[in-house]
Symmetry: C2
Subunit: 907 residues, 2 copies
């Protein structure tokens, strides 16, 4: 006995087992997905609207349950209802099952209430046999089409229903093997080149193959074909693949599958036939006019194949040399399509993407769905539909795919550009860039000074590359994932970035990289060569592709007003420079949630002092070096606080391990030894002594301040002095000083004391009072667990979910690229946890952290400043957990605003 998964007792069977549709009416409707499956319900809905869909009927999911309850037998009454269903279809299209002159052909499809891989594929052209094929050839005048349809039907039915398939993974598909032999015999390379005779002979070979495998003739009786297909659909519900899939998503076995049987229609039976696609609005621009194309005497696949040039749908869209539009060449069906478009768009209140076929002058609508659109069209359509009264403002906000707003915010390649893709990496930061290749940050700076646009190509980047990264247009790295240093910096700066492009072999010494590509063989790209990078697809291309500037449609501003009216979460930006801060304000940021002070340490005017500070052997030496850094840090903070005047600015004190600031190469170490007047071997020894095995878990964050408190003292002084200067200019400033990597209550207790002591000292010196806050990153599991105690010393919590994800999973984001893709392909994990916050693990710790933190301080301000702050699903989580704000890179601020509004609307 085959194993059947446990199922509850089946409820008593309804008397109606089959629901018919077509002829402008239907027995079911779109609300009946549970009973009719997604497809069946959709077809019923369209038909009920009076849209001309090819007639058919759906066998309910209850039948599926009954089928298993009865030991894989059909319930009584089904046969009769199916018979009536076929009669309805025959009547509607004027053809008959098995009629050699005008055979009715049908498709049979499975359909659960949700789309589910692992179940049966569609069977097309059911009803064909020798006579019917002959009849179809005669009627269409295209025998090749008739026999190709027939051989495809046998192949599909033979595989899915009769189980004629390869014995093991190593074997070839038996039908494909016969097809290949035919091609060889005919001396052709493509199936398309086989003529009607060859296909007719192939049909005989196929039938012999079926006979050999099953010991029986391929069924020629359409009824026998139909019942075989229905049984195959029902059996597929308990196939191994479907069961695995159901278990993975927790779908119960008693949902069952429906079976939809529908008349086939053909757009290729003559010149009064056509097939095409129409959008109810322009999916590129969102403009309110139809947008579509069609081919006379063709099947749907001809439109896709691109061998013939499609004709425009509207006359107004016709170019001077193009063939006639549907509007002028088939005005009757055109008018009918117009009506269907209007009805469907009104009904679904969204722009529709509609497939249609015209058979012998009669229009059939095959499918309608919400149309895919560009970000620009998405915004325009949503706003237009509010103006048209189709949807309200809430719905317009809900309609926005927040992630897709990216398209509006970054430059893109022109859609029609020819792409010579030589390698593909991870799409780490969206946008498009064209530039000359450079291999070192110093070269990036030099080239930028010469006014050149460059793309920085590295094995990976590190914080000391930051100056060069500022100057480059984009980054391409051979290693690292979508959360690697390059990726994070790129998204922060709004630059395009491709990471983990493992095909790259970079030779720094020869200043080139090579890549072995299938299409181009071995390609050598030298320093100075121009490449194009698509950060949204991960593609690397040779030469300069044309760029298209993003246009923020007028509707965008209107939409964002509705968005901001609805959201509760505040949205801040992560920004380290006055330029970033200004950009963030432009995108609507309401403050800075994360200002990383270490990026400032890499400036060419200060890195030497920073290195001197790090290599100091005593507190006195260290203070001397820090004294040089203080005025520069103060200027940094003045710039940022000024750009964000009136808004809160959270400044994180120094976080990375000190060795990140030190040179690593022999030459750089020699330079440093000269600059500091220190012996080379002594510099080298000190640099080596700072090496760490796991820098992520090393001497960084608050740990630096416990061992070298003078570093944070100087930073706090710089912040408060900056605030005082701006306050003297009557500007509103609200610095929030944030201590990173706290895991122990006493760490924050000590540092809070330090901050207060230094701040009060400065304020006393200046005789000024300003408001400032002291808080902490919550980015370690331990911090979440003891958040109640940490909260005693914190004015705010900012969840650093990048590091919290790393520690909760024990997963280095710099190293994850080696296995995370395999995890995702194999569904060990569904989503990259560095992109979308892992609710079950990291999220649970965040919840604990908030609960405990607010148990100590009910009004504790809570934010998030990891990359997740700009990920829509994660923003929803933050809303649910009553965060006060999210903070993300400036370019993602609009995305976070939309996601926050949607979360608020969702409840």
């Amino acid at each position: 006995m085959t194993t059947v998964t446990n199922r509850p007792t089946t409820p008593p069977l309804s008397t109606q087992l089959v629901y018919r549709f077509g002829d402008g009416s239907a027995e079911g409707d779109g609300s009946m997905r549970d009973l009719l499956g997604g497809k069946g319900a959709g077809l019923a809905e369209m038909s009920g609207l009076g849209v001309p869909v090819p007639p058919g009927f759906t066998i309910t999911t209850e039948v599926c349950n009954a089928f298993y309850a009865l030991g894989r037998r059909y319930p009584g009454g089904l046969e009769e209802q199916v018979r009536r269903g076929i009669a309805h279809v025959e009547k509607s299209v004027g053809a008959r099952f098995g009629d050699p002159d005008n055979p009715l052909l049908v498709s049979v499809r499975s359909g659960a209430r949700v789309s589910m891989p692992g179940m049966m594929d569609t069977i097309l052209n059911l009803g064909l046999n020798e006579e019917a094929a002959e009849g179809l050839a005669r009627r269409s005048g295209r025998p090749r089409f008739a026999y190709d349809s027939y051989r495809r039907f046998i192949q599909m039915y033979g595989d899915v229903v009769l189980g004629v398939r390869k014995a093991s993974d190593e074997d070839p598909d038996p039908f494909e093997a016969l097809l290949a032999r035919k091609r060889e015999a005919a001396g052709v390379k493509e199936d398309m080149q086989l003529d009607a005779e060859a296909l007719r002979a192939l049909v005989q070979d196929y039938k012999a193959l079926v006979r050999e495998h099953t010991g029986a003739e391929f069924p020629s009786d359409p009824w026998q074909q139909l019942w075989g297909a229905i049984a195959a659909v029902l059996r597929s519900w308990e196939s191994a693949r479907a069961v695995v899939y159901r278990n993975m998503y927790g779908y119960p076995a008693d949902w069952g599958t429906a079976v939809t049987v529908q008349a086939m229609v053909f757009g290729n039976l003559g010149d009064d036939c056509a097939t095409g696609v129409v959008f109810t609005r322009n999916p590129s621009t969102g403009a309110h006019h139809r947008f579509g194309e069609f081919l006379v005497n063709a099947q749907g696949e001809d439109v896709v194949a691109g061998t013939r040039t499609p004709q425009p749908f509207l006359e107004s869209a016709r170019l001077p040399e193009s063939p006639a539009s549907l509007e002028t060449s088939m005005p009757g069906p055109f008018a009918e399509i117009e009506r269907a478009c209007e009805r469907l768009e009104q009904h679904f209140a969204d722009m529709q993407d509609i497939e249609f076929t015209i058979q012998e002058g009669k229009l059939w609508i095959l499918q309608t769905r919400s149309g895919k659109r560009t970000g620009q069209a998405m915004v325009k359509i949503a706003v237009d539909m509010v103006d048209e009264g189709l949807i309200d403002e809430d719905e317009a906000v809900r309609r926005i795919d927040a992630e897709q707003l990216n398209e509006l915010l970054h430059p893109v390649f022109a859609a029609n550009a020819k792409r010579e893709v030589v390698a593909k990496g991870l799409a780490a930061a969206p946008g498009a860039a064209v530039g000359r290749v450079v291999f070192t940050p110093a070269d990036a700076v030099d080239s930028a000074m010469r006014g050149e646009q460059v793309i920085l190509v590295r094995e990976e980047t590190s914080p000391e590359d930051i100056e060069g990264m500022k100057e480059a247009r984009a980054f391409l790295t051979a290693r690292g994932g979508t959360s690697s240093h390059a990726a994070v910096v790129a998204r922060g700066m709004g630059k395009c970035c491709v990471t983990g492009c493992s095909a790259l072999r970079i030779d720094y010494a020869r200043r080139h990289f090579t890549v072995e590509s299938k299409s181009h063989g071995l390609v050598v790209v030298n320093e100075g060569d121009v490449i194009s990078l698509d950060g949204s697809s991960g593609e690397v291309m040779l030469g300069a592709l044309p760029l298209a500037e993003p246009v923020l449609p007028a509707e965008y501003e209107r939409l964002m007003v509705w968005v901001d009216e609805r959201r509760h979460l505040r949205v801040r930006a992560n920004a380290d420079t006055p330029q970033d801060a200004e950009r963030a304000r432009g995108f609507g940021a309401e403050g800075i949630g994360l200002c990383r002070t270490e990026h400032m340490f890499f400036g060419p005017d200060r890195i030497l002092a920073v290195r001197q500070m790090i290599l100091s052997q005593s507190e006195a030496e260290r203070r001397e070096a820090l004294a040089k850094i203080l005025p520069m840090q103060r200027e940094d903070f003045i710039g940022i606080l000024r750009a964000m005047a009136g808004y809160p600015v959270t400044i994180r004190l120094l976080d990375p391990p000190l060795h990140e600031f030190l040179p690593q190469t022999v030459d750089d170490i020699a330079d440093l030894s000269r600059a500091l007047g220190m012996r080379i071997d002594e510099v080298k020894r000190r640099v080596d002594a700072l090496h760490e095995f796991n820098p992520m878990l090393g001497h960084r964050g608050v740990r630096l301040a416990i061992t070298f408190p003078e570093i944070y003292e100087v930073q706090v002084r710089a912040v408060i002095e900056a605030a005082c200067e701006l306050r003297a200019e009557q500007l509103q400033v609200a610095p929030e000083i944030m201590i990173p990597l706290v895991g122990l209550e006493r760490e924050l207790e000590r540092l809070r004391e330090l901050v207060l002591r230094v701040a009060e000292e400065v304020l006393d010196e200046r005789g000024i009072r300003i408001e400032y806050a002291v808080g902490t990153m919550i980015e370690l599991p331990r911090a979440c667990i003891v958040a109640d105690r940490i909260a005693e010393h914190a004015d705010f919590f900012s969840f650093g979910t990048n590091d919290l994800t790393q520690t909760t999973f024990g997963l280095s984001r710099d190293d994850a690229a080696r296995f995370l893709p395999v995890y995702m392909t194999q569904h060990v994990i569904e989503r990259d946890p560095f992109v979308e916050l892992d609710r079950d693990g990291v999220g649970a710790l965040v919840r604990i952290g908030i609960e405990r933190g607010r148990s100590t301080k009910p009004g504790l301000k809570v934010g998030i400043c990891g990359e997740h702050g700009g990920n829509p699903a994660s923003v929803v989580f933050c809303h649910e957990q009553a965060f006060d704000y999210v903070s993300c890179s400036p370019y993602r601020v609009p995305i976070a605003r939309v996601a926050a509004a949607q979360a608020a609307l969702a409840g």
Copy 2:
């Protein structure tokens, strides 16, 4: 007004404010610590037992509270009671306060209910003034002693009571400055060399200093001196240091401090005087005889100073040439001491360490406390006392300091050995070792083959050093903490280890290390030089110190029977080889809780195949290399399972990142390229490509198995084949296969499927059934959080608290040495979380993991296999959390057994 910490309303004051003791009776007793402080209660207890303690009295802690409640004034009635107290003392010792001929001198001490740094030090010799000093000189015939006592009294009182002290940290102490000037004037180097006249003059200088600082004469009236000292003790309760300390430990302000005033007695007033120390039993061996020494006509500090050779307490302990014993020279006081010893040991039911003074033939007992003892004595005394009916078996088990059992289990240096300490590192693994210095694992192997004992000295060790580490007697590293690789391996192997010895400058090229030591200047230690290493103290010594072999006393076995009868937790060992497994059995291990398979991969006969496997580019290549490893792994498992027949053995599949197995130096890479017939640059490229930024969070554990399932397949096959072979010999085997680093439910689901598939395949081939289990390490915060889901696929959980501590704290144990010592010194954290499980953070996650795991599977077997499994405090935690077992290094198995029994007794 001085800030006073908040205190609740003081309860009404008792009428008795002063409790007297002495003359064989006392008004209080040992139970009154809250009222009399620890010291006062102890003295009352002794006095109440009839032991002759110098008489005195204690002012209660209630007085302290009243003092603050009254705005720093004494409560009514105190003066009168203190007067009566002094009268009691005068009467008891026959001397009088301020009597020039026979002055009563007293000590004044603070005493809270717990010992508390930050409060006032003792003031001695209170009551001295010009006349009394003169009288003391006459009476003792030792004017130098009299004036030295007087000048010390002024110095102490001047500082503590009158506040005469240096103005800033940079200044010298003003009293010490005067003393130094006197030494200069006299042309001597030591205070001891100043004669009576010089000291008498110094007293005048001291008085002038006090006059200058305070504007008043140094008080000569003993009563004025006494009230000044009492007030100083009471004020010290609210000193800044005491308040900080109280807040740190959460001690309430209203505990208050008591003040104890006690007569001074002198052992140096003539030849009928003496001072000494006696233990009621031998603290080295535990033998039941007194053990002590004394000096005639001496003070306590003379015994300590070692300028005179002390005389033995017992005649039987006298060596032929030594001076007379107390037993023969002062039979009267000796008999009195004997009675006191008997009474105190019976009373406290523990071996006592007693200080005594004989003044003019009269015995005074100054102090008694439980005596420190060796591990051996600890065990013998506990068992003997059960036999003597002093304590019961439960109490004997409670008495054991589990950690101290270490002394019994490792070799130690002879107690009398002269130590030339040149450097000190962290005491990473206990024991003592002597050996020649080598700097490379290869040299360790070579030397061992020549039969030499060597100590491996490295910057730090790594897994590829394992073969050399096996051959070395001990390890000394310049970097790394007490949980570094070297430390963990050492404890596992029962070897001695000192880590983080940062004074070492290792020069591999010149094959020496240098160390700059205060005592020895610059010391160069060359390869081949002999050093001695004390892993219990962290000391590094030149030359060969004599070693003492540990002796397991007969009482040990009896004790451990009581221990095992009481504990609920099972104790297993972490063991990777048959030798380790046998040793573990010898120490009483009830199975293996962690068998690390990677250590087997480093064997010289297999590392090549392992490297070939790692550098494979395809599954086929990898399988080919694995096929070579399979039979070797099978033999490993046969050995271990055989040694543990009848007990469970948990085998952890491959855990470390693969690059740990690869060579890193140019030479080793060249060797490998020859061995594998691969180009050097290709080997180098592949080695580089496997580099990770944070290997701890990288491609390791179950992640290896998700990407390369064939590795675990081969390991599972080796385990099950080994089990089958032993089963064929009728041996009981119970392998438990453990998957490391699981953080996602599906990881374990997949791997459980893999293990079951391979295991059943092998069992089918062999036609044998054996029991085996599949479980997982819980070592990531996420695993704790989703333990309910992970438990669905696990037969057992083993908490890997090493890694769980690393991830919960975000703290690399290899890098923590850089700041953790500062954290501990500054009390940011109290205990090294890699030594003692952090209850608040890591412990909370463990609790969540167990709760959720057992919510899915109530009977889920739960163990721990981190280093904490051998730490007594952590074992108590495991007992409380209802673990089934703990697992630790073989040498710590007895410790864990004792800790488990103590935990069971405690609750």
